[in-house]
């Protein structure tokens, strides 16, 4: 028992250090990139104020913000505030970045979680069907469908979905996370879900093909293995083999793939949220980029790096917990 605790501490310490160094690297790179970009935060701020500002006032603002200080000093200043939990104030929303990320992330999380579960379940199921009917008609058809779907860009598919389901059929609302003209606190869970379905489906649609194709290949490998040959020699039928050996051996790689797909999911959500005007982290990132909102852009970048890193960490840890072969080596 003591050994397990020590191992757990060791694992979390290792991953903690890895994530911190990763975030440091990401922060340095993004900070440098933003600094050398033609974005002028002061001008952006003044535009946001909506009033004219005299050149003297502008110099004052520049001085107050330390825009003309050397890069390293600016970085250290930003970092020391960040460590204290102050991520700065967004230029377009005029609110603390941390608050925006917090509330946008909840929306995005709901969207991504739905899409993630949907794509995982659908992808795994379709992958199993393709693998079981390898090179026969169901496999051939599904494989082509998967290839087509994985070559469609998310935003285009989102537009088509909007056109078909929202404009023509009027099944789903055309955008946002709640009805227009209703106060945030009055929106019901059902209304939220109703607004969530179409973007979630768009997002899920994009990633299930990938998961299905991977699952298919893994299942084909398993079915060609010697242990399946022996299972057949012992009289196990097709579906018994899938149940006893197939699922057991493809679930692990599928799970890992699923958690490692956080990055793609996040990238896709930027597109999907913009098409559906869904107020999530992805649309905030796009808005921050387009409007040169430096504090928000840096904040979202760091946060998404953290999100993806945690996804990969979970994938690695799960492998160790579920696969007895890796468990043994680790112990």
């Amino acid at each position: 028992m003591k050994r397990t605790t020590r191992r757990l501490i060791h694992i979390f310490a290792t991953y903690g250090i890895r994530i911190i160094t990763l975030l440091l690297a990401v922060s340095v790179i993004t900070f440098v990139l933003v600094s050398v970009s033609p974005i002028d935060p002061v001008r952006q701020y003044i535009m946001g104020l909506g009033t004219a500002v005299s050149p003297e006032q502008r110099t004052q603002i520049e001085e107050y913000w330390g825009v003309n200080e050397p890069l390293v000093e600016r970085y250290v200043g930003w970092m020391s505030e960040l460590v204290k939990g102050n991520m700065g104030e967004s230029a377009i929303y005029r609110r603390p970045v941390a608050d925006i990320i917090g509330e946008r992330f909840v929306n995005s999380l709901a969207l991504m979680l739905c899409a993630w579960v949907l794509s995982g379940v659908i992808g795994f199921f379709i992958g199993c069907v393709m693998g079981m009917y390898q090179d026969r008609l169901p496999d051939k058809i599904l494989k082509k469908v998967c290839y087509i779907i994985s070559s469609i860009p998310t935003f285009w598919l989102g537009l088509v979905f909007l056109l078909v389901f929202s404009v023509w059929l009027k099944w789903f609302p055309i955008g946002f996370s709640g009805p227009i003209g209703v106060l945030d606190k009055d929106i019901t869970v059902w209304e939220k879900l109703h607004h969530l379905i179409l973007p979630a489906f768009t997002l899920a649609f994009m990633s299930f093909a990938n998961i299905a194709l991977h699952t298919r290949q893994k299942l084909v490998d398993v079915l060609n293995s010697e242990y399946v040959l022996f299972a057949r020699a012992r009289g196990e039928r097709k579906w018994t083999i899938l149940r006893r050996h197939g699922l057991r051996n493809i679930l692990l790689p599928a799970l890992t793939l699923q958690f490692a797909s956080f990055a793609e999911l996040f990238g896709g959500s930027v597109m999907a949220e913009n098409v559906f005007s869904y107020p999530g982290l992805g649309s905030a990132a796009a808005a921050a980029g387009l409007n040169s909102d430096v504090p928000l852009l840096l904040g979202v970048t760091l946060f998404s790096a953290l999100f993806v890193a945690i996804g990969n960490m979970i994938a690695n840890l799960l492998y160790g917990i579920i696969d007895p072969q890796i468990q043994e080596v680790g112990g």
Binding site: S225, E226, Y227, L229, F230, A231, R232, A233, R234, G235, E236, T240, R244, H245, R248, N249, L252, D323, P324, Q325, E328
Partner: protein, 311 residues
């Protein structure tokens, strides 16, 4: 010769070929087993001996009907006098015909050994399996282990146990003994012997000729995908003069205790087989006839041989 309905397994003129892509999109049929014969009677253990690539393991797959999809099988395969069709094979495998495969790779890497040995048939034969594990010298905790935690010998014993668990009338054991200690190998072979004495039949595919001569009744010698000779195991103990085919005699002489004499040349590869007798290119007694046509199977002194001159 005994009647067909007395045999457990009767194979003659069996050929197996694989459809392969040769150059680009050109398809060719690669013949890996040709004109093979083998007869197995109840109560006996037949050893199948021959070098790697002589078609031993493929024969096992052909009997069970688990060859890959690009394989074609021709010839006569009879189980208890009935033709072994694909349908019949599906009914029989795991119940009437059991396989003991070669290596730990045939065990599901993510399934505990106990559950795996028990198999998929309900009710689970857990008690019987426990006693077989005990007899084979597998410790109690083995059933809780995963295949990668087993030693080579333990894995083989676990594989042997799967066949012993069934009520199969025919067991095909594909090199079951390597990796076991002599004692364990003897115990496994003793268990096969008991099965045979019970009226069942065992085909023992092996490289370990000494053990084979000791524990089996007859030995079938394979060469390049065909049977060149079937002889009584006792003939092999007597020496080369009791054997009928030049290859069996060469095999006997190549054993360490019999002089360790090698024979020049190689076993021909599938796809590049000679036209006549498959052994002719290496045979010291070959004549023009041997190079032209495949010799028929002849019965000589209680054994069978595919040679024009065998004596």
């Amino acid at each position: 010769m005994k009647q067909k309905d007395e045999t457990i397994l009767e194979i003659h003129d069996l050929s197996v070929s694989f459809r392969m892509y040769d150059h680009g999109l050109e398809q060719t049929d690669l013949q890996v087993i040709s004109d093979l014969y083998l007869t197995v009677y109840p109560g006996e253990i037949v050893a199948v001996a021959g070098s790697s690539g002589s078609g031993k393991s493929l024969l096992a797959s052909a009997i069970l009907g688990i060859l890959p999809g690009n394989a074609t099988v021709h010839g006569h395969l009879h189980y208890k006098g009935q033709e072994l069709t694909q349908e019949r094979q599906e009914q029989l495998r795991g119940t009437d015909i059991a396989l003991v495969p070669q290596s730990v790779a045939f065990l599901d890497p993510l399934m505990k050994v106990g559950a795996q040995a028990d198999g998929h048939r309900k009710p689970l034969p857990t008690d019987k399996r426990k006693s077989i594990f005990k007899r084979l010298g597998l410790p109690d905790k083995t059933e809780q282990l995963y295949p990668f935690q087993l030693s080579g010998g333990m894995a083989r014993r676990a594989l042997v146990s799967t066949a012993l668990l069934t009520d199969a009338k025919l067991v095909i054991a594909d090199e079951p003994t390597p990796g076991m200690s002599l004692e364990q190998a003897l115990e496994a072979l003793r268990m096969f012997r008991e099965m045979a004495d019970d009226g069942k039949a065992v085909i023992l595919i092996t490289h370990d000729l000494d053990l084979a001569f000791e524990f089996t009744d007859r030995v079938a010698v394979f060469y390049a995908g065909t049977t060149v000779e079937t002889a009584l195991a006792s003939d092999f103990k007597k020496g080369p003069d009791a054997l009928r085919h030049p290859y069996s005699q060469a095999l006997w002489r190549a054993l360490p205790q019999n002089g360790f004499q090698p024979v020049c040349g190689f076993q021909p590869y599938a796809g590049a087989l000679p036209k006549g007798c498959l052994y002719a290119p290496r045979c010291p007694y070959k004549t023009a006839q041997c190079m032209d046509a495949v010799p028929p199977v002849r019965e000589i002194r209680g054994g069978e041989v595919r040679c024009y001159y065998g004596a």
